[in-house]
């Protein structure tokens, strides 16, 4: 066979020539592939974000309630008034508590699923995490409203095992207590923990599964106790996964406005403040300034997470 026969003839059809042209210009091909989604995200998403951010530099005329379209930092200064600053502190504290708690509750699940489970057990663990993750957000919140209600299942369970005094004691705690579980910060915290927990488990489990078995065997061969192996080999390698999970738990708690509205003491979180300011209060500049807070916090958080190697664990 001659060389000429071995090389396919140049295509004559339009699609064939187009395809050849794209193969020769890979950069153009990549650009064409990227263009639709990038245009969509740039126009719809970044464009919307930009209009929102612009609003945050406007201010509200106090007497008329009209928006003054002059650029000013006055609205940002309002964030530091005690009433508004409290909202920010409360939300960040809740996000931090939820992230730490979900790491503590989630780690054993991820650890057992990654290191001890095979076959059917592994699938069962996986589904047990995925089903609550994917079932409706509002239905989960609703389930907790049912459970936390004064006449609900938790009060009943505490009474059954004779721990009602413990429950009463927890609800009497200053600051986090309240008249019932569904109107206290404890309730809000439990619902947040429940709803975001799977987001912590999945990346942690993925990181644990990537720990090479050889490293653990080597650590044991060198005389380390199981605890020492865990502390010095497994935990450092799993940390990027935990940090990756905390990106979700932290960010999702920062922005949520439905859970504290339905289960909680009625005091505002950032999300509710945004919702009320843009809705009934009609103060869009302040609402926009409030949304900048989680963006900034998540920007810092993502930068730190990136240095800790969390992006590879996503």
């Amino acid at each position: 066979m001659s060389v000429a026969e071995a090389i396919a003839p140049p295509p004559r059809s339009l699609t064939g020539r187009l395809s050849d042209g794209l193969w020769r210009a890979p950069k153009l091909a990549v650009l064409l592939l990227l263009a639709p989604a990038l245009l969509w995200l740039a126009i719809v998403y970044l464009g919307s974000l930009a209009t929102l951010l612009r609003q945050s530099f406007f201010s509200l005329e106090e007497f008329s309630g009209l928006i003054v379209e002059d650029y000013t930092l006055a609205t940002y200064a309002e964030l530091f008034q005690p009433a508004n600053f409290d909202i920010i502190v409360r939300t960040v504290a809740m996000a931090a508590c939820v992230s730490v708690a979900s790491a503590i509750v989630g780690f054993p699940i991820a650890y057992v699923a990654a290191r001890y489970c095979r076959g059917a057990w592994k699938a069962a663990f996986y589904l047990a995490v995925m089903l609550p993750l994917w079932s409706s957000y509002l239905v989960k919140v609703y389930a907790w409203k049912l459970m936390l209600a004064r006449e609900g299942i938790l009060t009943w369970a505490f009474a059954k095992v004779g721990l009602t005094p413990v429950l009463d004691w927890a609800l009497a705690l200053p600051g986090i207590g309240g008249p019932s579980l569904s109107t206290s910060y404890i309730g809000t915290f439990l619902v947040f923990l429940y709803i975001w927990l799977p987001y912590m488990i999945l990346p942690t489990q993925a990181a644990l599964e990537r720990v090479p078995g050889g490293l653990i065997a080597a650590s044991a061969d060198l005389g380390a106790t199981p605890w020492a192996t865990f502390r010095h080999v497994i935990l450092p390698l799993a940390m990027p996964g935990v940090v990756a999970g905390s990106i979700f738990t932290f960010s999702l708690t920062l922005g949520d406005y439905i859970i504290p509205q339905i289960v909680g003491s009625g005091r505002y979180f950032i999300g509710q403040a945004v919702y009320v300011q843009q809705g009934t209060a009609g103060n869009i500049p302040l609402a926009a300034a409030f949304t900048v807070v989680p963006i900034l916090i998540m920007g810092v958080y993502l930068a730190i997470a990136r240095r800790l190697g969390a992006f590879d664990a996503l």
């Binding site: 395809s19 990549v30 057992v112 609550p132 209600a149 990106i247 339905i262 963006i295």
Partner: protein, 268 residues
């Protein structure tokens, strides 16, 4: 590693799983309760009556139909945009590749309320009235990432030599896509599409800002949560919603296997 520590870990894991599953079982139990006004536990009696009552409610049906239509259109848009981006990112290295990944992930990495209020202020600025399409635009934006993540994971595992062999044998780029790439990533796309559908069907935070007076099923549910009108009907709808979202998740699980699902793929 199998030592005294492992039993404690297993017990902690078991308790954690119970914590994850119990609330879903509670929903099932409440759908059958005879109690109408309070959330009393245990249910004083069991009945099927509320399923019939819920079936007759036109507002529930209207909300359900709107949710299904929005989810279908948003999923199609997300499938197209997500697949194209995934093909670009998976098979080549180019300047700004990380920035593209970041941009795709951003709508779920930032809290949903930001996406929502940003879209609303943009609609207000450009005087776009609320409609079916304003909801779809919001949903498609955060659904892209689900499709993208599934497609990228599969494309990275697909051997590049398959594509090269096809091209060497004289297939054009489009034929290669149709006959080689698509069959390979098909199940991943199907899985991504179903997850996107489930995500859109369930979304409430962005929808609050883009729906205006329209009511999707989650918005109906939220209304009931804040101002309960008929608790037993809400219980039944909650059970139905759980059942409806489980089907695509189970299918997606069997189509891709456990290894491709990550938290990022599931982000809200």
């Amino acid at each position: 590693m199998r030592s005294e520590g492992s039993l404690a870990v297993k017990i902690a894991a078991g308790l954690g799983l119970a914590f994850l599953i119990a609330p879903l079982l509670v929903i099932v139990a409440y759908a059958f309760t005879t109690e109408e006004r309070s959330f009393v536990w245990p249910p004083p009696g069991l009945t099927l009556k509320w399923f019939g009552v819920a079936w007759e409610r036109t507002d529930v049906w209207a909300a359900l139909t709107l949710s299904l239509r929005v989810a279908a259109v948003a999923t199609i848009l997300a499938l197209i945009l997500g697949t194209l981006t995934a093909m670009a990112v998976a098979r080549s290295r180019f300047f700004g590749r990380d920035a593209v990944s970041l941009l795709v992930i951003l709508p779920i990495a930032l809290p949903g309320i930001i996406t929502g209020i940003a879209l609303r202020s943009a609609f207000a600025t450009f005087e776009i009235p609320f409609s079916f399409w304003t909801i779809v635009v919001g949903h498609a934006t955060f659904c892209i990432v689900v499709v993208y993540n599934n497609a990228v994971a599969r494309l990275r595992r697909m051997s590049g030599s398959l594509v090269e062999a096809s091209m060497d044998l004289g297939a054009t780029g489009f034929q290669t896509f149709r006959h080689i790439v698509l069959p390979n990533v098909g199940t991943a796309l199907l899985a991504g599409g179903m997850l996107a559908f489930a995500l859109s069907f369930d979304e409430v935070i962005v929808t609050t800002f883009t729906a205006g007076q329209q009511q999707t099923l989650p918005l109906w549910m939220l209304e009931e949560l804040i101002r309960p009108r008929q608790r037993p009907v809400t219980n039944v709808v909650a059970l139905v919603v759980i059942a409806v979202t489980f089907i695509p998740i189970l299918l997606a699980f069997y189509l891709t296997g456990a290894d491709e699902q990550t938290a990022a793929a599931a982000g809200k």
